[in-house]
Symmetry: C2
Subunit: 204 residues, 2 copies
């Protein structure tokens, strides 16, 4: 598959994957592009076009074989390549993400959380320990950490980003509502909830 | 402005807005497209193109006037039109969203939370009460609710969506990892965290 798969296709493939997991849970063997399209209220032709991008999509005379299609999406989106992450900020959002049951099945391994609150340090969330933010750099030296998930209050976003950068982590998934200043070799993905919301509500 | 403003432009305008708020907090009067572009690591020409879409962007000889540009983005994105929402599911994610300091300033008013846990019902989060999910329909009859934010555990997603639909709410912002079955007159926006993550990490 071409490496230049578009963001919208990736997004839709993930939603198809959600549907396939439900189908498997319900013991279904086959699924049609029409069934997927109906659930997502999109065009059947769009679904077929997306699935045609996959290698070995599991297409048969009576529909796509659910398990094969699911595996094919996983291969294409690279779920099999595990990425290791720390959650920086053990507030409600950080805890919600630490508990998020899907991360592991999509190849994202939450290794630990970090916080500066002594009442939280040492506690465990979903079997992941909350560590002292002071020890982040040392931790990153001895553990493979690809991505930092930044969930601190927005007013502490930049100073915490500086700590992350100093620790050597090169990717930040930023859930704060601040634009971070980082060196050129560090990539930030802004999880822009307000932007997403505005796209949704623009026409309400 | 054309109603058909693209999702990507909306997303970028929101990020520009974050930057402008920081500039105002720092007492800055002017900002250049280049300064915005550098912070977001995108092309200067892209920023200028986006800002040209705005009415009265506050452009002057020495740069954009920060306050005018901020107001112009707000007018364009419709922040001034308040939308009323309930958060359905007062777990960590629901609580994080209830505390999210930005919703109000972007025209999203969280009226209440709903849960079925008697230990949570009656508590307040960020001055918003947690109400019994059994009372959702009655609540919607007497309060203007435009949007339901769905943050229950994924296994309860569909049955809770059914309750929301029955209450008469027509828009669901879905944070669960399930694709919801809803009637044609109900719109669902899937906040697909895994899809976003995969877009980010596709090339790591």
């Amino acid at each position: 598959m071409d490496k230049k798969i578009s963001e919208k296709v990736i997004n839709r493939l993930t939603l198809y994957h959600y549907i396939l997991r439900d189908y498997i849970a319900n013991g279904e063997i086959y699924i049609s592009s029409k069934q997927i399209a109906t659930l997502l209220k999109i065009d059947d032709s769009q679904v077929r076009k997306d699935l045609n991008l996959l290698n070995n999509s599991g297409k048969s005379r009576v529909g796509y074989i659910v398990k094969e299609l699911k595996k094919s999406i996983e291969m294409t989106l690279g779920y099999s390549k595990t990425k290791h992450t720390c959650i920086i900020g053990a507030g409600n959002l950080g805890m919600a993400l630490a508990k998020y049951d899907n991360f592991t099945s999509y190849g994202l391994n939450v290794v630990a959380l970090f916080d500066n609150d002594i009442n939280k340090i040492g506690n465990k969330i979903n079997e992941k320990e909350i560590l002292d933010i002071k020890n982040l750099t040392d931790f990153v030296k001895t553990n493979e950490i690809d991505i930092a998930i930044l969930t601190v209050p927005s007013k502490f976003a930049q100073e915490t980003a500086d700590l992350i950068v100093n620790s050597g982590i090169k990717y930040i998934w930023n859930f704060t509502s601040r634009v971070l200043k980082v060196p050129d070799d560090v990539q930030v993905w802004n999880e822009n909830l307000m932007g997403n919301f505005l796209q949704f509500t623009y026409n309400i």
